[in-house]
């Protein structure tokens, strides 16, 4: 099983990287860019768990370590790798 996890700053938490890239894209001639958010992408391979267990455990991993829920939110998908 493969968990694909995105971690981004919560709404309302200043994202200075996103802001800098946003300005750069505007300067490069992309005035349609309205907002940029920069985050992290992680892939975690899991073995020997059912998809229900994986769901629960990946959420736990996000809460415990992968995201700092004071400032970050996370979302993930699970894919079968068989």
């Amino acid at each position: 099983m493969l968990a694909k996890i995105h971690v981004t700053l919560k709404k309302g938490v200043l994202d200075p990287q996103g802001k800098a890239v946003h300005h750069a894209l505007n300067d490069l001639g992309y005035p349609e860019v309205e907002g940029v958010q920069i985050g992290k992408y992680m892939e975690i391979r899991l073995a020997g768990v059912t998809s229900d267990e994986a769901e629960k455990r990946v959420q736990e991993m996000c809460e415990k370590l992968l995201a700092n829920t004071v400032i970050e939110s996370y979302r993930y998908t699970l894919e079968s790798t068989e």
Partner: protein, 228 residues
């Protein structure tokens, strides 16, 4: 006072802290290896600055799960004194011993310079030798020092007198123009409710030695030794 300085892989201000406590203040000081599980009795534990675990994932996120941290959290919850400096502060917020989080500096830049700090409270063992509203000149050196808390937590911190240091100018004025890194409320240091745990981004251990022209960091260590 029996002091311990924790060494994580990537700590780089551990020797400065050790030097100040042991050689300048003559305190019994020990190294604590991050893989140790048992903590002997201490009067002070320092989580030093640096880049524990290369700041991978987030600063402090992995160090917080080092084997020794379980014992340190227990020690802190029992009233033991823990001073987290810079990366140590980041480890304290990640571990939940202090509220909030430290984000990337608003400027996106690593900031290494002297700053002024206004002492907001001297009702802590870390600042007991300072006058309230005294201004200290202490350096910062960090990329991720923007302190963030939700407004309701900020209010609670203010109500409980837990904001200990704010970035200010030399005259003690603290506002957006004296904020080096985008911290909410210009917060540079916060304590837990019992005031036995302090996290601060500036480095008092870098300016305590009499060989150095600026020595305001000594107020933090003078306070600790005086109140032990």
């Amino acid at each position: 006072m029996k002091c311990g300085v924790v060494v994580f892989p990537g700590s780089n201000c551990d020797h400065d802290s050790y030097h100040v406590l042991k050689h300048l203040y003559g305190q019994e000081t020990h190294w604590i290896w991050h893989k140790d599980q048992v903590l002997e009795p201490f009067d002070l534990i320092v989580l030093p600055g640096g880049f524990s675990y290369g700041d991978y994932l987030r600063p402090g996120a992995i160090a917080r799960f080092s084997p020794i941290m379980k014992a340190i959290i227990k020690y802190a919850n029992a009233g033991g004194r823990v001073l987290g400096i810079c990366n140590g502060f980041q480890i304290l917020v990640e571990s939940g011993l202090l509220p909030g989080a430290l984000r990337r500096n608003a400027s996106q830049k690593f900031i290494c310079k002297y700053v002024h700090l206004r002492v907001e409270s001297n009702q802590t063992p870390y600042t007991s030798r300072c006058e309230k509203n005294a201004v200290l000149k202490i350096p910062v050196a960090h990329a991720d020092g923007g302190y963030f808390v939700e407004p309701e937590t900020l209010k609670a911190l203010e109500d409980q007198d837990r904001i200990i240091l704010r970035y200010s100018d030399a005259a003690g004025r603290s506002d957006a123009t004296t904020n080096p890194n985008g911290s909410v409320g210009q917060i540079a240091g916060v304590a837990n409710a019992e005031k036995n745990v302090l996290g601060m981004m500036p480095h008092p251990e870098r300016c305590a030695d009499p060989l150095w022209p600026d020595r305001d960091g000594r107020y933090i260590f003078d306070s600790l030794i005086h109140s032990s």
